[in-house]
């Protein structure tokens, strides 16, 4: 496998790790539980 191909693959793995960390950071700042309704009684229909 050529150097360029390795570069592509390693770059993509780094990107996957960065995305995981990024989603984790957003989740930490504003957890899902604080965004969505708690029960069915709390939901609002999208119009």
């Amino acid at each position: 496998m050529g150097v360029v191909a390795w570069g592509f693959l390693i770059g993509e793995v780094v990107l996957v790790i960065w995305v995981m960390r990024f989603i984790g950071r957003v989740e930490k700042e504003r957890p899902t539980a604080s965004i969505v309704p708690a029960t069915a009684a709390d939901i609002e229909l999208v119009e």
């Binding site: 496998m1 996957v16 989603i23 965004i35 969505v36 939901i43």
Partner: protein
């Protein structure tokens, strides 16, 4: 009080609202639904196709690059869906607009109907072969309808029934896959002879990458329909990473190994050659069932979302639309749309890639817009010209690159659409306006 109870009873799988925390599923149940979603014969066909074009030494990294790309797209879309609790159709409203969302809904919905017909054909033909049924005979027709009905049933019931089927289908499919893989390797004298088998690649590695990544691009773009049941964005992203970075990679590699050994790209044929016969059909059926039930479920959700008018209540409408999509798939199968569908599939990567990147950027690249999703303010445009212009540019560049074979059509199409969308939205947000107002001078909804 009575009204509240009635409303709650009609919530079901929440087709037109955010999935509340009380309706979310556990990690392993969601994981099983995702595993069922990705385990299917067509994945082996893609892996096999790449393996037939490239020697295994090249096919393995090309496939990994493609499946990791799917994982990236899936993680970001699933993360947004899990955080907001919105289905794909509700999520796409923000980027494409309240009326503009019809465009991705129709594209994804029709694609699922096409896949339904193709997978129904593959499964039915395999069974008909084993039972010796003549095409067009009454038992053949009844087999088609019965298999189609089985595909639809769990999706009509609810997401939990999809999970119940997957708890059985996933381990059974994996066992048969493992047996096929071990038998193939044993018959080939181990991995080494296959690994060292060299033949000149027939096309550019970028085309191989587009095949590997494009195979699941629609699947990861509509992943929000099942991913919104995860309890957090982080869990959903992890689940998607395991499903696409892990399971799909193994499936593709398995298909490529089979192809490298036998020269055939179809796992079903490979299994028949190995003498697995009816067991191979059972695995084929379980893989088909676990995937297409999710597809029908997603398409049913898409056609239940606004701006399509609400019929009775959200759960009634979801069930009605799911049955409608399934019936369209069965009728389409009899009409032979599975044959036309392969013509459509070759354009699919170029069509869907710009949609995926637009959705991802709209939610993750602009914190102010992310707040709009999360604070239930609703989509602020009726039609977003930025999304449509980005799509046209992405499709055009992807199509051109794909035709010339100079580079990956998926990467160029996505990059072009992404740059156009990001720049336009950034300018609009900086000026405190929207692309809709910039182009039309007002919010179209108010007209």
């Amino acid at each position: 009080m009575e009204k509240d109870r009635n409303d709650a009873e009609n919530v079901g799988d929440v087709a037109r609202a955010q999935v509340p925390l009380s309706h979310r599923l556990g990690f392993w149940t969601n994981g099983c639904v995702l595993a069922g979603w990705v385990l299917v014969l067509t994945s082996f066909l893609v892996g096999g196709s790449v393996g037939a074009l490239f020697p295994l030494k090249m096919a393995v990294p090309i496939i990994l690059f493609g499946t990791l790309s799917n994982a990236l797209v899936g993680m970001l879309i699933a993360g947004a869906s899990a955080r907001t609790g919105y289905s794909s159709a509700l999520l796409f409203r923000f980027a494409y607009g309240r009326k503009g969302v019809i465009f991705p809904i129709v594209i994804m919905g029709l694609t699922v109907i096409g896949w339904f017909s193709v997978i129904l054909s593959l499964t039915r033909d395999g069974l008909a072969q084993h039972l010796g049924l003549e095409a067009g005979s009454v038992p053949w027709l009844l087999c088609t309808i019965a298999l189609g009905a089985l595909f639809i049933l769990p999706a009509v019931l609810n997401i939990r029934w999809i999970a119940y089927v997957d708890w059985v289908a996933v381990p059974a499919f994996l066992i048969v896959f493992g047996v096929v893989l071990v038998m193939t390797l044993k018959s080939a004298g181990g991995i080494e002879p296959i690994w060292n088998k060299w033949y000149p690649p027939k096309v550019s590695p970028f085309i191989g990458f587009d095949m590997a990544a494009g195979g699941w691009l629609v699947g990861v773009t509509i992943i929000g329909d099942v991913a919104r049941f995860w309890k957090s964005g982080r869990q959903a992203a992890l689940g998607l990473m395991i499903a696409y970075g892990g399971l799909v990679t193994i499936e593709y590699w398995g298909g490529a190994i089979g192809a490298a050994y036998t020269g055939d790209y179809n796992l079903f044929n490979i299994a028949n050659v190995l003498g697995l016969g009816f067991i191979a059909w059972v695995a084929l059926y379980l893989g088909a069932q676990s995937t297409i039930q999710g597809g029908v479920y997603g398409a049913g959700l898409a056609f239940s979302a606004p701006p399509i008018p609400l019929i009775k209540n959200q759960e009634y409408m979801r069930k009605l639309m799911t049955i409608g999509v399934g019936i369209a798939g069965i009728v389409g199968n009899f009409a032979g749309i599975d044959k036309v569908f392969f013509w459509w599939v070759q354009f699919l990567t170029w069509i869907v890639a710009p949609i995926a990147i637009t959705i991802i950027l709209d939610y993750w690249a602009f914190p102010s817009r992310r707040l709009q999703y999360e604070d239930v303010e609703g989509a602020d445009m009726s039609v977003n010209p930025a999304a449509f212009v980005a799509w046209v540019a992405g499709f055009g560049v992807g199509f051109y690159t794909g035709m010339t074979g100079a580079f990956s059509a998926l990467i160029t199409g996505m990059a072009t659409a992404g740059i156009v969308y990001y720049v336009w939205m950034r300018v609009a947000i900086a000026r405190g306006t929207t692309p809709e107002i910039q182009v039309f001078g007002k919010r179209l909804r108010a007209a």
